[in-house]
Amino acid sequence: MEQNETIVQMKGITKVYPNGIAANQEVDFSVRRGEIHALMGENGAGKSTLMKMLFGLEQPTEGEIIINGEKVQLTSPTVAIAHGIGMVHQHFMLVPSLTVAENIVLGMVPKKSGMLIDYKKALEITKEYSEKFNLAVNPDAKVMDIPVGMKQKVEILKALIRGAKILILDEPTAVLTTQETTELFKELIHLKEQGYTIIFISHKLNEIKQITDRLTIMRGGKTMGVFETASITEQEISRLMVGRDVVLDVEKDAPHPTDVVLRVQGLRYTNEWNKRMLDGISFAVRKGEILGVAGVEGNGQRELVDMLFGLNTPDEGAASVDGEDIVGKPQYRIRRLGVSLVPEDRMTYGIAEGASIEENVISDRFTEKRFNHGPLFNMKAIHAESDRLISDYTVLCKSRRQKVKMLSGGNIQKVVVAREFSSDPTLIIADQPTRGIDVGATEFIRKKLVDLSRAGAAVLLVSADLNEVMELSDSLIVLYGGKIAAYFEDTSELDDVVMGEYMLGLKRQSDEEIGRVCHEG
């Protein structure tokens, strides 16, 4: 076996999306046969996009892909599979009521007597491959009844059975418990010994160190280098992964925080796949300050925001705004306490795209007295309000009657923000507020956030954008593994290296230091 032969080579890959965002810029990526190669980077670094192109789900704007020395055009997953590439996605592509064996042979079902499924053969094939690759599965069990770890093995078997020699695993341990992760690693090493090549997308330093041979680091759509795993330290990886090429300059006055507005105590939550996503979170946000929540995605941020806005309930713990309990309460109650949310999924929760700008912008206040004359709307007041908001928030549109779906991404977010910021909120929760939108809108929204904070609102800013969370926040906490790993009261002193270490779990502050964020007494 030629150990050093390059099996996959991606040269000069550039990917620019129609909205102008460059996800990959001149990326070079190559993998040797029979190695376990990690592709590392923060969210948004471009690693998922790169692998999507390797699996034929997307096409590069520029650059070429060479498999086994042969230049190829991977126009669809079918073509990629034909070249021996298999991908295990983060969200499983399995049919719940079908058995493991049925899922594995779907699309290539063995037949008997012409018309019927040869289920025995399917079971045999499954058992055969399962034993060959040491991926223990229960062939006859329904997928909806098996644990997550086994579901993943089924996905891997699906790829192997279709002739994959190169396996791409997209954040495979994101859904696994520690136990299941150990098992997975054993299996991956076994596969490697049999000559398979594995590309392992991840941002978890300890795991990478455990089983990979080499690693490639990406940041901001570019490659930062290829390294032998054994000869690079975790600190060095962290420094390359987490860092900013340009530091954002945000003008803001010093904060003068006063009373606590949001108090979170001991939130705990285990999701439906038995993974503990929140493991005892306690903190407080005060009037007049912007508290950032930093961390690589998947460490509990999503769940935390859901809990605070009544979209999910924790198993344990409490949260209150101005002393009033908000856990498990309906949204209208929470809003009445003065809480606003700029949601991450703006198209599902933030707007009704088939409705007009005006209709969107009054959705949280249309029952108020000033907009109603008895049973009817006070249209004059409503029009005045929407016009004012459109102008104050510089929403670029034809008129207030225009349907929101016609607007550009940045302007859609401005509509969301126009509504959420203008309700005179006591607490603003902003979740990825400037993701995927143009520079102008981004600057505008960030400035508004600062203005509101200095005027007395409490702001909880959850952002995967390092610049945003470090420069915009006055103080910040870092989430890792469902716990708070650090609390920094003054972000202006922070540097990227330190941030990286906490975000990737290399360091953790003492409970005392973290406890200061609760501002008790």
Binding site: E353, D364, T367, N411
Partner: protein
């Protein structure tokens, strides 16, 4: 500018759909009739134009009968507009119209008042009963997630049989040949609007009044707004603080009230006793009307007129030519299919329009940023 173009496009698309549906009908006419052109004449212009000795004249009585036919369908059309606006496929209008008519008739027979308020009272009772019955599929959907489509379809039959039971066993006038109730008091009848046998009553005026009321309700009140937003994006509405469950129930109860009212007004206006032996079919027509009106209450009279006109045309065809009146069902079905087809004639043209708009806005905003910097 572009917005107007979109509107024009939608109108053209709708007109094309209707034209295509009529074309389908025409094909069938040609296939089945010995005098297709004559039949077409009756269908297309017959309802309003009568020919006597080669002279065409406007048929006012014809107009009145069409308007009279619109009375129940405006109500059911409005009902469906409200219910479909909250994205609930509730089809129980059929059954509730029948119950409404029956209840109104009973009030007209057994409750005695000696003023014109009698009719108002009867219709009011019918409306309230209609609303209460609609609670069943509404609550089952909101509390238990049970399909409102199946429950409402079942409800139609339950309503029909219950009414027929009471009609036959408890309230039938045994002296009459066919099954019917006793006559209702004169004070309960809804008075005619015009002379002649067109059955155009003040119910028509009431229907138009309700068009305005429902239109105002849907577009100028907080409840109508909530109903529409929930229909467009339920998650968004919940997140914005709206009470989704209650509003969904409200939309269906209103549908019940309107359907019941329509049934009551029709029975008290057109007849002198209650004599329906099966579901009268206004509920299904209401759905067609709501589709044509795109759930906009203000367009309901237009759509109702169109359907009533076609219906009359089909009836004329049946009377004077050899084409069965059931042609109306074929045309209605075709209208349904083509009109509600989102992709019909859209193809890529719509996408281009959207792309243009987005590109324009991006250019403009980029220009703005560049200027500001």
């Amino acid at each position: 500018m572009k917005g107007k173009r979109m509107l024009m496009f939608e109108l053209v698309r709708g007109a094309a759909a209707i034209a295509l549906a009529l074309a389908v009908g025409t094909i069938f006419i040609f296939l089945s009739s010995d005098e297709p052109l004559n039949a077409l004449r009756y269908l297309l212009i017959g309802p309003l134009v009568s020919l006597k000795n080669g002279v065409a004249s406007f048929n006012t009585q014809g107009l009145y009968t069409i308007l009279a036919a619109m009375i129940p369908t405006i109500f059911t059309g409005l009902a469906v507009c409200v219910m479909f606006s909250s994205n609930q496929f509730n089809l129980a209008g059929e059954g509730i119209v029948m119950v409404g008519g029956f209840v109104a008739a009973l009030c007209g027979i057994y409750v005695h008042m000696n003023t014109g308020w009698h009719a108002v009272f009867c219709v009011l009772v019918a409306a309230i009963v209609g609303g209460i019955i609609m609670l069943i599929p509404a609550l089952l959907k909101v509390k238990l997630g049970a399909s409102e489509m199946v429950t409402s379809l079942m409800l139609n039959y339950i309503c029909m049989y219950v009414v027929l039971h009471f009609l036959n066993y408890n309230f039938a006038d045994r002296s009459k040949g066919s099954t019917q109730t006793y006559a209702f008091d004169a004070t309960a009848k809804i008075p005619s609007l015009v002379s002649g046998g067109s059955k155009l009553t003040w119910g028509f005026v009431v229907a138009l009044v309700f068009v305005v009321i429902v239109g105002l309700f849907m577009y100028r009140t907080r409840w109508g707004y909530a109903i529409r937003m929930i229909g467009i994006n339920q998650a968004f509405s919940k997140y914005s603080g709206m009470k989704v469950g209650g509003t969904i129930v409200l939309s269906q109860v209103i549908g019940g009230v309107l359907s019941g009212m329509g049934g009551g007004i029709e029975v008290l206006g057109r007849y002198s006793t209650f004599l329906w032996k099966e579901l009268p079919g206004y509920g299904w027509t209401g759905i067609t009307i709501a589709i044509l009106a795109k759930n906009n209450p203000l367009l309901v009279p237009l759509a109702a007129f169109f359907i009533a006109y076609l219906n009359k045309g089909c009836q004329l065809m049946a009377t004077y030519c050899d084409v069965p009146s059931e042609m109306i069902d074929i045309i209605q079905a075709a209208i349904f299919l083509f009109f509600a087809a989102e992709q019909f004639l859209s193809g890529y043209r719509q996408k281009i329009v959207v792309k243009n708009t987005r590109a324009d806005l991006a250019k403009e905003s980029a220009g703005l940023e560049g200027g500001a910097k």
